[in-house]
Subunit: 146 residues, 2 copies
């Protein structure tokens, strides 16, 4: 049988993902934001809903690692923590207007760099690449494993 016409998906995606993360770091730094803090701001909504434990699980972070990140975001007025009326030991989290402004500014800078790369693709490839990537990224991990 002939050899496959393309590299394995993971062999292309893992190093490219690493390079894209590296490209985000100076942008995050220019906004004085750590990667985990950015991920938290992306995850939170305006209505306080998530407990710290649920947030840590949703973003795949260690619960203890996230505490310092949340403390710093709260001190900078980027998130708000309120006691959970259902469970006084738990705290609900929400993003503040200042947090949203910072999150959006960082994301605009990150995606401006990404658009510079995507502009090198033919328009049909750019569209198919983004649609395909978004579809596959939304599949549950267990469907990927088959």
């Amino acid at each position: 049988m002939a050899r496959p016409a393309r590299p394995d998906l993971a062999a292309m995606m893992v190093p490219l993902g690493r390079s894209l993360i590296a490209a985000e770091l100076p942008i995050l730094q220019s906004h004085d934001l750590k990667m985990w803090a950015y991920i938290v701001l992306l995850e939170l909504r305006e209505e306080p809903t998530r407990t710290q434990a649920a947030l840590a699980q949703a973003i795949g972070a260690d619960k203890t690692r996230i505490i310092g990140v949340l403390d710093e975001l709260a001190e900078r007025g980027l998130i708000r923590r309120t006691p959970d009326p259902q469970d006084r030991r738990a705290r609900l989290l929400a993003i503040t207007p200042a947090g949203k402004r910072l999150r959006d500014a960082v994301q605009r800078d990150i995606q401006a760099n990404e658009e510079r790369l995507l502009a090198r693709l033919a328009p049909a490839d750019r569209r198919g690449f983004l649609r395909g990537l978004q579809f596959l990224a939304e599949l549950p991990p267990e469907e990927i494993a088959g």
Copy 2:
């Protein structure tokens, strides 16, 4: 300004890459091959050319980590090591016919699972996704950073 219409590329690609790696592991195991051994087999050619140091650098592996992997591949007759005529302390590496057969069998299984996922995309998206991914994956990391 409006929020971007899509997640950041790295936010989609890094977890998806991780899931694709996880999907490879049982396939590799069914062929009794470790991930690094598979990566070595993908990298080597039939003509002995690479020294162990050059191979380790090419695949981004630690030089000491790779030695045990190469020993095992050589014992199983999947790679061949010959002294470098230019430098008697160095050794050249090549894949054997048995190594090629195993590499191709593993890659066929891995890509069969990937094709199952890609088949869920519309044909134009599948084509654009693969063309876009291959183009971006071949860019030097320093071009990604901008």
